[in-house]
Amino acid sequence: MNRVNTKPIVGMPVPRKEGRDKVTGRAQYVDDLSLPGMLYGATVRSTIPRGKIKNITFDTRISWAEFVIVSAKDIPGANCVALISDDQPCLAKEFVNHPEEPILLLAHANPHILPKAIAAIAIEYEPLPAIFTIEESEVQKQIIWGDDNIFKTYTIEKGDLDGVWSKADYIVEAEYTTGAQEQLYIENNGMIASFDRGPGVTVWGSMQCPYYVHKALMKLLNLPEDKVRVVQTETGGAFGGKEEYPSMIACHAALLAMKSGKPVKIIYDRTEDMAATTKRHPSRTRHRTAVTCDGKILGGEIEFVVDGGAYATLSSVVLSRGTIHAGGPYFWPNIRIRAKAVATNAPPHGAFRGFGAPQSLFAMERHMDRIAAKLGISPVEVRRRNFLKPGQTTTTEQKIREPINLDKLLDRALTLSDYEEKKKRFQLENKTSTRKRGIGLATFLHGAGFTGSGERYLASLVGVEGRADGRVRVLVSSTEFGQGTKTVLCQIAAEALALPYDFVDIAEADTKQVPNSGPTVASRTVMVVGKLVQSAAQGIRQTLTSAGYLRNSYSPEEFRAACAHYTSQHGELKSFSRYQPPPNILWDDEKYSGEAYAAYAWAVYVAEVTVDFRTYAISIDDFVALQEVGKVLHPVLARGQITGGVAQGIGFALYEKVAWRDGRMQNAQMTNYIMPTSADLPPIRVYFEELGNEHGAFGAKGIGELPIDGPAPAIVNAVEDALGISFNSIPLLPEDVFEAISARSRKEEDTPTLEGVR
């Protein structure tokens, strides 16, 4: 790279592109916008988990003529929210399959009278029996989806599992479960739609994936590509929660706009957002593992099941990621993983940071501690003896080519957390204290980018434009919702063009302006899209140099002059780059084996906890998060991703419980669905190792999802260290701790000769 007068940009804490707007309150989120003549829309939902719609009556005391009313009959195209299998209706016509299913839409100029109008619509049902748990779905108590309630299954087979059981010194078996988790972005979902016969439909709103929304609108409205425009507005958090459901809301707003001829805004309130939109899949994982007496894993069987809710939506892909991560960062000579996603009569579960991996890794990392306890060796040692090493293969028989050394990573985490000293000290102190302390760890990995052949199918396209004034513009549909997409992609383009960061900006995520760079999910933006930005930016440079407007080495001013010269002679200066699968990244969809991800991030997290025997509350006193993430492109943003992910992981482990009744969330409020506040969290100490990555922009890997995989098992392992009680389910609330301690006390009273339960 020939660089004149500029310092490196990648790796520097440059200002966030949209930061000034955010700190001054000028950033415009969807609810901050309004259009002339705009109406407000609302959704009439099912009140029962499953049944046939028999009759709908409108209370005559409401002047319905003032309202725009939309039902399934008003849908011009296919009545579905197009995604993978298109099974979810946009509006229920005859049957409802969960208690938040949309049936009708209303719009009115005065938003305050909408709740009263919704209450004045009586829907009569013929109820059908419903199912609410994985177990009820598995035994096919009722068939509610397809022939067998199963959305998807996967099987991973490696080696000869059947041969290992007889060679094992120990067989360790257990079952682990995780609960639903609400993304709880602070900005609720919302959309504005307008329709005009000429340009077609335009939708503005809070979302992660403009082209998913675009695809859903085309199918629903039966409109060609160029008659649908989707624009992302500033988005106040997403975490996966705005991957798919925004398509539903956009479809609703668009139907109301088409019928009324006016712009329509739909903004969910907190209760509607929490109850009706997607949450993390509840899961159940069963492990049966054959180990030698010195702690070597010979082989094992893992059964991983997720509750997908009433429609298939993203469950197959969530299941896929969870399945591939189920074996953790360990070498399994023999393994069989059987996975399935099943249907229940709850609102569909969906994407949430980690996407299945936090569920299966919780089980894996709890199970490693169980194996250690059974064998009487330390949790550290059992991990060391089974770590994947370069040259070995993962459960999908992907050969590890990265020079990762998990032993060294673990050593550093142990030193940073003072693990061994604390573990000894806590054991001594706990004997005489009512505040029991413990320390636990989790070692894990997270694959970056779409799974398997996913990136091949996406074939993302990215553009970079050199403008007449010498400014550079990045053209992507990848969205900013807090992670720093805009900033980091601009850093990459600036670095690739040897220009100051200020020379580069990024186009609005508007499908009329930007190509489809794929969805903003799966820790793929910096690694996959970033690499394409890098290559498209180099294309601009190449065009200018080969046309003779620019020398190999240039100043920003010379670049500016070259852009002006080029555009005056030839018009637009744009360079596009499309994803090309690396030749050695091969995946077999049939056998479910091969290179599952082009790169993995690796981590060791250590949690230190106190369990108070008066309140049974668990507090976290210290948290070390050490990870290898390739090159860190922006230290402040990268650290922010880790601390934020850890905080959500702490919530997943200790606070966030969805209370279900008949498929409906009962605590759909911030007052009784508890997420961590600033006062609840420990110091989260973040450390990076940077090995680089040939597949990512300037060596970067994905980083967004990784940090939510590790906290829950590290914390529950620490709780076991503190109490000597092994918990297999999260969230782990004070009442669960109380129950377990009480049960142990009862047991001790019954059998006074036994010494505890350890």
């Binding site: 609720n188 958090g237 922010g640 601390t643």
Partner: protein, 169 residues
Amino acid sequence: MTPSAGLCEISLTVNGEKRTVRAHPMERLLDFLRHQLGLTGAKEGCGEGECGSCSVLLNGEAVTSCLIPILHADGATIVTIEGLASDSQLHPLQQAFLECGGAQCGICTPGLILAAAVLLNGNARPEMEDIKEGLGGNLCRCTGYAQICEAVARAAADSHENQPNESTR
């Protein structure tokens, strides 16, 4: 409904500007600020005073404007995020949030900056624990709060550095 029925006259000062308006007495201060004055920096996150993203300063105290009827603000002095920066100069807290990574998605940021301003008004040299306690009423889902708390600490430190008579640092 007749549009003007039940309206009352309210006088208040918003971001230094005196205003007299007619409003329904129970209209939420949040809606009044956003819809009547176009001050959209205060956000509705939960509508029940839990998340703090609608925080504004009412007579110098941080309040959740989704719970305040406009009548309650009669005669009050209100400061919103839009009133914090003077001209084009960012408030030290805004600058520190920007530099320390205190704002990610930005939706909670206006409320948090105002809550932090109240905190620093009452305690110019807060310890990290004071900051964590002081911001406990404002939820942020992105950051895990670490960089927010560091931003507040930096803003406090910077304001001391800018006071020439103090030689404690």
